[in-house]
């Protein structure tokens, strides 16, 4: 059963390259266990759309031949999936103990001040969103934040300014 509707077909589809990756991911799992590819497909969706939109999740459900609710309940469980639109650059800083021991709280306060937004907010120009996350497994290199796949480590106020300047160009 293909649950793709006319409406979703029109709004969101993976690019051919991403659709190919999605199909490969589905093929990684045994016959009938295609739901296992849900997390990887949600990552591909977010990579393309910037967030996991309801239309996008419906599309993923159609690719996996599962009910949309099965996608929503999973996307809302995990912290990496953005359930609302976000800025071009999502800065996810680690708020957990070891990073805070290394001065994380001061650095993150500076980051928020520099961008003029708080955690969970997006700058008015749509360039930056700040999210706070738990331990990123880089505790010896703290304070740490992540932007997409890139880790930024040993952060200081000056380093934060440099990174923001670079990304603002």
């Amino acid at each position: 059963m293909n649950m793709i509707t006319e409406a979703t077909k029109l709004t969101i589809q993976f690019t051919p390259e991403r659709l190919e990756r999605a199909k490969q991911s589905i093929a990684d799992y045994p016959e009938g266990k295609q739901k296992s590819a849900l997390l990887p497909l949600l990552h591909i969706l977010q990579e393309q759309e910037g967030w996991t939109s309801p239309e996008g999740m419906d599309y993923v459900a159609s690719l996996l031949d599962i009910e949309p609710i099965e996608v929503y309940e999973v996307a809302s469980f995990y912290t990496m999936y953005h359930l609302n639109p976000v800025g071009k650059h999502v800065i996810e800083y680690c708020r957990t103990g070891p990073c805070c021991l290394m001065g994380g709280e001061e650095v993150y306060a500076h980051l928020k001040q520099r961008l003029g937004i708080d955690t969970g907010q997006t700058t008015v120009d749509g360039q930056f969103t700040i999210k706070e996350v738990e331990c990123l497994a880089a505790c010896g290199m703290g304070p740490v934040f992540q932007i997409r796949e890139q880790y930024y480590m040993h952060l200081t106020n000056d380093r934060v300014d440099e990174i923001i300047d670079e990304l603002s160009k």
Binding site: I66, P98, C100
Partner: protein, 446 residues
């Protein structure tokens, strides 16, 4: 020179590529196992080695393997737990990033031993760049004939799949990880049945940590007895320790189990001591879940003997004066650290990461966070410290997975050893909430 079982070649340029790894002796253990050994013989060597689960639980790996059910006609799975999320722990991140082929070689040997033809590496989704490194390495190994059909002409087939997580600490718990791998929310399963009987897709499954699996190539090459000869007693072999906090040289170190905590903390070979001008206040020896110890108890047992980096010595004295080796997340606190603030921080972590299935954990972690927050921010009540102890004791042991215990222990231990610091916050709220204010009362700094 200390034996390096995992990281001997970590600084060789290009070691993340197949060719360089192979030149350093890589994949010879796969050749030995697949061409000259039976799966049972591989299991036997790992049992002899006595290697214990390096994710934190410390359960003997060979024994875990021997529990795997083997019904006819049902596939068996090996799943590598690379969901490293325990605060203070970053060794698997280091190992996979630098030595992807070591993990792949270990996966081939371990899958062969268990009779698995499709195995998974579940990596936390935040480490997407590491996933790409692993996928590239898997593709190389496949081209060279170490993965795929009929590996090295042995008749053994293996496919390796890397699965990204979605961001959830709880998926480091093995049954939550299996749920997640099936494309579901990461809610831990009730046990029994254990994964060895009904795991992934209800088939017999073994879940092992990255570092545990990475020991198997050395064990194949050198024998289980040689591995067991390193270390002390039941703490055999080496362990990767992730060192962070107020030390001169944070980083990942491979140590032979059995060196004194004091040596690891102060020797230049490892942490290089507390940062200049500061004193040692407290230690979390094995990741945020294990009991925090004040400096004196971290370095010495109650009888005055040196405490050692072994499973047994770190837990000597029980929770009264001891802690646990856990995942080897070694977090060092100097005298500028506020234990109340750190305990609140850890509590917030567990509250955030509780999956919500069991009421004691779902509600209890929230209550602890709330009470710790009000103490830290100057609104604590005299009764709050005992209230925290009470809540922690009612979470511990009353949940289907260990997250409840992991949330309770840091709170209970912080109060056990630093009660005066908590009381100072409650009785001196104005002073305690000044920026940079830290308790300077009587305590054993080193």
């Amino acid at each position: 020179m200390a034996t390096k079982i995992l990281t001997e070649h970590v600084n060789v340029p290009g070691i993340e590529t197949f060719d360089v790894y192979r030149k350093q002796g890589g994949y010879t253990a796969v050749e030995k196992a697949l061409k000259t050994m039976t799966p049972e013989a591989v299991v036997e060597e790992v049992k002899k080695a006595g290697v214990r689960g390096r994710g934190g639980a410390g359960f003997p790996m060979g024994m875990k393997w021997s529990f795997l059910a083997k019904p006819e006609g049902v596939p068996r799975y090996l799943v590598c737990n690379a969901d490293e999320s325990e605060p203070g722990t970053f060794k698997d991140h280091y190992l996979m990033k630098n030595l992807p082929h070591l993990l792949i070689e270990g996966m081939i040997i371990s899958s062969f031993a268990l009779g698995a033809n499709k195995s998974f590496i579940y990596v936390r989704g935040e480490l997407m760049y590491v996933i790409r490194i692993l996928e590239k390495a898997i593709a190389e190994a496949k081209v060279k004939g170490f993965l795929g059909k009929n590996i090295l002409g042995s008749g053994y087939d293996l496919e390796l799949v890397v699965q990204p997580g979605g961001g959830a600490y709880i998926c480091g718990e093995e049954t939550a990880l299996l749920e997640s791998l099936e494309g579901k929310r990461g809610n831990p399963r009730n046990k029994p049945p254990f994964p060895a009987v009904k795991g992934l897709y209800q088939c017999p499954t073994v879940v092992n940590n990255v570092e545990s699996i990475a020991t198997t190539p050395w064990i194949m090459n050198n024998g289980g007895d040689a591995y067991a000869a390193i270390g002390i007693g039941r703490s055999t072999g080496t362990k990767l320790i992730s060192a962070s906090g107020h030390i001169n040289k944070p980083g990942v170190y491979e140590i032979e189990l059995g060196i004194p905590v004091e040596d690891f903390l102060y020797a230049d070979e490892w942490c290089g001591g507390i940062r200049p001008g500061h004193k040692f206040k407290a230690l979390v020896a094995g990741g945020s879940s294990v009991p925090i110890l004040p400096a004196n108890l971290a370095l010495k047992l109650e009888n005055g003997d040196k405490r050692l980096m072994t499973y047994e010595s770190l837990s000597e004295g029980g929770f009264k004066t001891g802690t646990m080796l856990g995942s080897g997340g070694f977090i060092v606190f100097d005298e500028t650290s506020c234990i109340v603030r750190n305990t609140w921080n850890f509590s917030r972590f567990y509250h955030h990461e509780s999956c919500g299935q069991c009421s004691p954990c779902r509600e209890g972690t929230g209550w602890m966070e709330k009470v710790l927050h009000r103490i830290e921010y100057g609104h604590g009540h005299q009764r709050d410290v005992d209230l925290l102890v009470d809540v922690a004791s009612k979470i511990e042991g009353n949940t289907i997975c260990p997250l409840g215990d992991a949330a309770a222990w840091p709170v209970a231990s912080a109060i056990r050893h630093f009660r005066d610091e908590f009381m100072w916050h409650i009785t001196n709220p104005q002073e305690a909430t000044q920026p940079g204010a830290v308790y300077r009362g009587e305590m054993a700094l080193v």
